[in-house]
Amino acid sequence: MNTSSHEISLTVNGRAVEATVESRLSLADFLRRELGLVGTHLGCEQGACGACTVLVDGRSVRSCIMLAVQADECELRTVESLAPGLAMHPLQDAFHKHQALQCGFCTPGMLLRCLELIEENPDITDEEAREGISSNSCRCTGYQYIVDAVVEAAEQMRQ
């Protein structure tokens, strides 16, 4: 069957984007396939793993179970926005220092979720970080170094 297309305009990582999207296109596929922002990953496409996490209007969202057309007029942030230049974001730096990643596949989604956690709670503790990241699966690290990195990044970002 034919599916309708829709005009959308939104902001992605600070830049205005206009696009025509098919109804069924997920936000994740829009970012990956149409905008080439392949840092947003797909692990399950059913909202279970969190690999596709992006920030929509400042809030973490599973982009595999949101339609691109639903992002019309929204402001999006993907992992590509964290460090547009040479220097890494303090959160990325903390992940690097603590080896809070192994294969790196969960990392973009994890970073955005962690950024949200720190922004909501600048004094985040180990326990709060652990609870907060339980929304996102990581199959490699066993989470511990991620907790370490979040707590340290929060400290850095407070300064």
């Binding site: 890494m88 294969c103 339980s134």
Partner: protein
């Protein structure tokens, strides 16, 4: 025996927790994973998966699918069989259980591919896959090991004549004598449920067949087993020198991308059929149901014989392994178990009877431990049972039986060699770090309050660096010693900057680039963060085997060492010329050559490289331009099995050790297990990057926890897969995972560069034993079946009350 190495006393880079070289690209979302890679004019593939566990394919109607706009080709299994040969199969008698990229004539498990669609997008390909109509004639499903062995059981592969592709009874040592001498024999029946690596990223491939040149180029995140790519070329019916594999980092593997070859085969086949580049990216449903990498699925009848004082003498193991519909790696999983069959204990003999059965499940592949994790769990379950029987402390029975530091190299009854070890050292560290005695006190207090608190300990081996000889024992005549080599090229450019080229698909969550950079730093005196690491396509490649069996770090360390030595040999000649000194008077010091005794007369590697690149004609005649060298590092220590297989030879000789202590509390009403504390101390020889090792230990432990408590691919009695997605197949979340206390001990291997042993499978090889012992201790009844789900634990509690 291999030469015993003298390890340098001071190291500059090996042993430092430097930041990982591979991380910046991942942190920026520029990992270049396979699904990030696309080429113009590319089609995408979706698979029509079988809905039946066991059925004859009566007909397939592809007309509606073909008519859908955007569809380029629909290929059934029968059509695929015309353009491809069977899949690479390391199993016994592959012609009797033929495995193809798509099923032909009949399907053997839910999820098996029956047709492939290539279309302009994955979404259209899925639309078309839905329109393919397959008519099945159902056959009775065979799901349980037990049903597979039953008289008159339906056959998974008629050509085999039974559902048993392999059975063998091994006896290593004087088992019967040892049993006769024993005071006590304990026995049990244990089940290990099927779990799997389930990395967050599935397997994908982009294949491009060039009709003009006949080249088949495949970009892939799997197939680390590079030396065996010629087998894939065979499947695709292309000459082996016309297959070029380009590696992409794997978003996790844990074995599941060791040799996941079907995805590449399907992509290659579809590219040949359509004449266009083709991407096949599994989705999660493909990956779980049809990814060919489920883990072990075993039932054990096992006994352990000991003297009254706790001295363990011998073990008898009878294991049936439910392999699913195919058996691609043969019973290599049991080879892995046999590499460390007696654990860290001085046991004199072991009988091992293994039966592989075929059923209507997805086939097994590799999962962190490759079957040896199951052997560890069974052994430790039995040691705990013996301790209970003899009323011994679980710590003391282990201590009493440890192989002692002065007994290495130690040959276990199966023939494998343990290179070095200090098991008591690890145990003592663990007890201290865990505050074991403190926890025992607290446990008594908590129990007095009615809480079900348990403490479990295990002491387990981690064998590393297979030589692949464990794949041999179904051949009557071994075909030869397999080396499983790893190679590297080091290139020093005119500015003295180092590029290291790797030849396998090495990146799957381990730290290959960091390892290589640290070794290059050590050998050449450069800063690892300035080493550029790249990957070669297989067609221009050197022999390589990639990660798997905790082998990569060790093998590549030897390759870097060898290549660096070749570079230094050439550099020494150039330096001697420049310094007008005799080569023999030079010494390598701080990244350059200096005249012995006059340290000011020196040339740094950079200066030498500049000369080598630009001023060849100022140098002696025999020196040609450039400064690069390659080295193929072969397995340092492997021997053949003997003819009657009472000795399997040395095939996994670098053997690490670990001890874990788990403290759990069990909810008496629900059976849920919570962690109060967790400690892991590992000895994988010299740690190259201690933080990386710690990361492997923690991640592996959490995976072990998953296999122990809830992860399982469940097939019901009718062969229906009940866990097809991440809604049902559960991964541990941060809240399910304990905060670990991790300790390291370093007992170097005498046979490897720097004394490194493998550490990549650690954690998962130990955690099940420690956690089960803790649950036993909490509820007073033994865990016999994994996963120990809340319901199963509650059943145990209720049984204990009766």
């Amino acid at each position: 025996m291999p030469t015993v190495r003298e390890h340098p006393e001071t190291l500059n880079w090996v042993g430092k927790s430097i930041r990982r070289i591979e991380d910046p690209k991942f942190l920026r979302g520029r990992g270049n994973y396979i699904d990030d890679y696309s080429v113009p004019n590319m089609l995408e593939v979706a698979i029509v998966r079988s809905t039946e566990p066991h059925a004859r394919i009566v007909s397939i109607d592809t007309s509606a699918a073909e008519a859908l706009p955007g569809v380029a080709a629909v290929v059934t299994g029968a059509a695929a069989a015309e353009v491809t040969d069977p899949m690479p199969d390391f199993g016994p008698s592959p012609d009797k259980h033929v495995w193809r990229c798509l099923a032909v004539d009949k399907v053997r498990y839910v999820g098996e591919g029956v047709a492939a669609v290539a279309a302009e997008s994955r979404a259209i390909a899925e639309d078309a896959a839905d329109l393919v109509h397959v008519e099945y004639e159902p056959l009775p499903p065979v799901v349980d090991w037990h049903d597979a062995l039953a008289e008159g059981a339906p056959l998974i592969h008629e050509a085999l004549g039974s559902n048993v592709p392999f059975h063998r009874s091994f006896v290593f040592g004087d088992v019967e004598d040892d049993y006769a001498e024993a005071d006590v024999v304990v026995s049990d029946v244990l089940y290990w449920g099927r779990s799997g690596g389930q990395p967050l990223e599935t397997v994908g491939a982009v294949a491009d067949y060039d009709l003009g040149s006949g080249m088949m180029t495949i970009h892939v995140n799997s197939l680390t087993f590079t030396s065996f790519l010629f087998m894939l070329a065979g499947t695709l019916k292309v000459p082996s020198n016309k297959l070029d594999m380009h590696p992409h980092p794997a978003g996790g593997s844990f074995g599941a991308k060791f040799w996941e070859v079907k995805t590449a085969a399907i992509a290659g086949m579809m590219s040949k059929v359509t004449g266009r580049p083709v991407k096949f990216m599994q989705d999660r449903l493909d990956n779980i149901a049809n990814g060919d990498h489920h883990g072990s699925d075993r039932r054990y009848e096992v006994s352990l014989a000991a003297l009254r004082d706790g001295t363990m003498l011998s073990m008898k193991v009878k294991v049936v392994d439910n392999y699913g519909a195919y058996i691609q790696f043969g019973v290599g999983h049991h080879g892995n178990s046999l590499a460390q069959a007696v654990g860290p204990y001085r046991m004199r003999s072991i009988a091992y009877d293994v039966t592989a059965v075929l059923t209507n499940k997805c086939q097994q592949g590799a999962y962190r431990g490759f079957g040896s994790e199951v052997g560890n769990w069974v052994l430790e379950r039995m040691v705990d049972l013996m301790a209970t029987e003899l009323d011994m402390d679980p710590v003391e029975i282990r201590r009493k039986n440890f192989i002692q530091p002065d007994q290495f190299p130690y040959f276990i009854p199966t023939g494998n060699c343990y290179d070095s070890g200090n098991y008591e050292g690890v145990l003592d560290k663990t007890l201290e770090l865990a505050d074991y005695h403190g926890w025992r006190r607290r446990q008594a207090e908590m129990r007095a309050e009615g809480r079900l608190v348990g403490i479990g300990i295990c002491t387990c081996q981690e064998r590393s660096v297979f030589s692949a000889t464990e794949f041999w024992f179904w051949f009557d005549q071994p075909v030869g010693v397999t080396s499983s080599p790893e190679s590297v090229t080091l290139d020093i450019d005119a500015m003295g900057a180092v590029t290291a080229t790797l030849y396998s698909n090495a990146s799957w969550g381990n730290s290959p680039e960091t390892m290589v950079a640290q070794f290059a730093g050590e050998e050449l005196g450069v800063d690892p963060s300035e080493v550029n690491v790249v990957y070669a396509g297989s067609n221009q490649g050197l022999p390589a085997t990639g990660p798997g069996g905790s082998r990569f770090t060790i093998m590549v360390s030897g390759a870097v060492e060898g290549a660096a030595n070749r570079i230094k040999a050439k550099a020494a000649k150039i330096a001697a010329h420049l310094l007008e000194a005799n080569e023999d008077d030079l010494e390598w010091i701080d990244g350059g050559f200096a005249v012995r005794g006059s340290p000011d007369r020196r040339k740094d590697l950079g200066e030498i490289a500049l000369q080598a690149h630009l001023f060849k004609h100022s140098l002696p005649d025999e020196i040609d331009s450039g400064l690069e060298a390659s080295f193929v590092h072969d397995h340092p220590y492997t021997t053949l099995p003997n003819a009657d297989r009472t000795d399997l030879g040395v095939f996994y000789p670098f053997v690490g050790h670990a001890s874990h202590v788990a403290v759990v509390e069990v909810d008496p009403d629900t059976g849920k297990v919570e962690f109060l504390d967790y400690t892991a101390v590992h000895d994988c020889g010299t740690c190259v990057n201690p933080r990386s090792v710690g990361g492997q230990v923690i991640g592996g432990t959490v995976q072990g926890l998953g296999s122990t408590l809830f992860e399982e691919f469940v097939y019901d009695g009718d062969g229906v897969l009940k866990t097809p997605s991440f809604a049902e197949y559960l991964l541990p979340s941060a809240l399910d995972s304990p905060a670990l206390k991790v300790g390291h001990q370093e007992t170097p291997s005498p046979y490897t560069p720097y004394g490194i042993k493998g550490g990549g499978e650690a954690g998962r090889m130990m955690a099940p034993s420690a956690i089960c012992a803790a649950i036993d201790d909490a509820v007073g009844i033994r865990v016999r079946r994994l996963p120990a789900t809340p319901e199963r634990v509650l059943d145990m509690i209720e049984a204990a009350e009766d």
